[in-house]
């Protein structure tokens, strides 16, 4: 690979979104007023990093949607908005928000190809339900495990999605997933630097993170004439944390608990990546 290509990919696809996400998070956490500062820094940082990284990609990553996956940055913004306003809402209102966001995402992301298999209406139902459950169950993780850990695991999951898409489907889609991973990594880094566990702020960013990462995994899944369903398992890996909620494991603390929690996500992540690469599903 030529040096200038590597520089362009790293500069545009990795460093820029990560740095912008980190910087915007830092600014937002300092400049926003009290109530907003507890909710919005992570989601604003994430979306600033992702949208700017997406814009820095070559012209095939258009902001004016001409193809189904061009909606990803817009859906991220919508999900960020609903996440921000929903984080202080009651459970029912929040689930309704997640459902509305998921249906909108499915409506725009499921392609209208005549030879889509299974047909569009099945994908609409499946993707809406899948995204809604993914957001809803991930949303409940930060209060139980801490915002920084969940943010870190979301970042690692996005990296795994990008790498697996690159290996199995297309570098084009992988670069979009890479931008998402770096944006998540940027806000995670900022949260670690601030040494604050912004549980509420992470919850506000969960819908955007799930829609972007789950959305690009879906886009890559249906690209092939034979859908690669294994890719759809990857974004769900953070839900492995729920294993740690069992009575025995919940009593663990300290480094052992942290290692176990990371393993509960990393193992399903590696398994899903292997399933995708081997095309078992």
């Amino acid at each position: 690979m030529q040096a200038d290509a590597i520089t362009e990919m790293i500069g545009g696809g990795v460093l820029a979104p990560a740095a912008i996400a980190l910087g915007v998070y830092w600014l937002a956490s300092r400049l926003l007023p009290g109530n907003a500062a507890s909710r919005f820094p992570v989601v604003i940082g994430l979306l600033a990093g992702f949208v700017s990284g997406y814009v820095l990609l070559p012209e095939w990553a258009a902001l004016k949607p001409a193809r189904h996956w061009h909606w990803l940055p817009w859906l991220g913004l919508v999900a960020g908005f609903t996440g921000g306003i929903g984080v202080r809402a009651g459970p029912l209102s929040r689930w309704l928000l997640f459902l509305a966001t998921s249906v909108a995402a499915a409506w725009l992301l499921v392609p209208t190809w005549p030879n889509l298999d299974p047909p569009r209406f099945i994908w609409l139902i499946a993707l809406s339900a899948g995204l809604c459950v993914l957001i809803g169950l991930t949303d409940s993780l930060p209060p139980r495990f801490g915002g920084r850990l969940v943010l870190g695991l979301l970042s690692i999951t996005a990296v795994a999605v990008a790498v697996t898409i690159a290996a199995c489907v297309s570098v084009t889609y992988a670069r979009i997933a890479g931008v998402a991973a770096c944006s998540l990594g940027g806000v995670w880094g900022a949260a670690c630097l601030r040494r604050r566990d912004d549980e509420l702020a992470v919850r506000a960013a969960v819908p955007a993170a799930c829609i972007i990462v789950g959305g690009i995994a879906f886009v890559a899944c249906v690209e092939s004439e034979r859908p690669q369903y294994g890719l759809l398992l990857l974004p769900a890996a953070p839900l492995g944390l729920w294993i740690c909620q069992t009575r025995t494991l919940r009593q663990l603390s300290g480094r052992t608990a942290t290692a176990l929690r990371i393993a509960c996500v990393a193992i399903p992540l590696l398994a899903a990546a292997a399933v995708s690469y081997a095309r078992i599903l």
Partner: protein, 224 residues
């Protein structure tokens, strides 16, 4: 949630609803791009086998009697990758008075591309290369076929549509018509970036060789 939040949310939903995706008629003909400079390459050896399938107005071309082969080359030491299209339809018109080839056209569903490697097939169909979901059909249509200097040698001019671009191409071909049966071999090199296939140029060369032969069936290359 406050009323303001609900109002904002409903507005957002209505906005999304208004952005309902249009059916992607990917089979629509691609818009023609600005013509590029003609591509000219040397002729390949003459084919031995001839076949004939007569239809109204010309000889029908299909994988049973023709082959369209492409060769991609890596920028490093990795071996070249050879592929063919296993589905295509076309026509070759012959002037019965002069027994000369007067026109040739072919439509190629790019999702029919085949190499010895299944994962490579999927990768080539992805947006990194042929983007088969978005641009399912490639097309070549001759605009003129002129006799060359040597007997049997011709110069084929035409328009090649690949992805969203249509470009003028020119290539030499060896042509023989005997008793209505046609044999043709031709070779051209295109720059894929001129058709918008401009990704991964750091790994796969811009130049793609295309070998066309009429008079022999398509054979999917085997892994070495």
């Amino acid at each position: 949630m406050s009323r303001l939040n609900w109002a904002l949310l409903i507005s957002g939903c209505l906005l999304i609803g208004g952005c309902a995706p249009q059916p992607q008629t990917a089979a629509d003909p691609a818009p023609a791009a600005e013509p590029a400079a003609p591509v000219t390459e040397s002729a390949a050896p003459f084919a031995e086998v001839a076949s004939k399938e007569t239809t109204t107005g010309g000889l029908a071309l299909s994988p049973t009697n023709a082959q369209i082969q492409f060769i991609g080359k890596h920028t490093d030491d990795k071996p070249d990758r050879v592929g063919v299209f296993t589905e295509f339809t076309g026509q070759a018109a012959i002037d019965p008075a002069t027994n000369a080839l007067t026109a040739v056209s072919v439509d190629i569903p790019v999702s029919s591309l085949a190499t010895p490697f299944e994962k490579l097939n999927d990768h080539l169909k992805s947006p990194d290369f042929f983007d088969a979901r978005e641009y399912p059909t490639a097309r070549f249509e001759s605009t003129s076929i002129a006799a060359g200097e040597a007997p049997g040698q011709h110069v084929v001019n035409g328009k090649l549509t690949l992805l969203a671009a249509t470009r003028d191409v020119t290539f030499p071909a060896e042509v023989a018509v005997t008793d209505g049966a046609l044999k043709l071999t031709g070779h051209l090199t295109i720059k894929r970036s001129e058709f918008g296939m401009d990704k991964l140029l750091e790994g796969v060369k811009d130049e793609i060789d295309i070998n066309v032969s009429i008079g022999e069936p398509t054979q999917v290359p085997k892994a070495e």
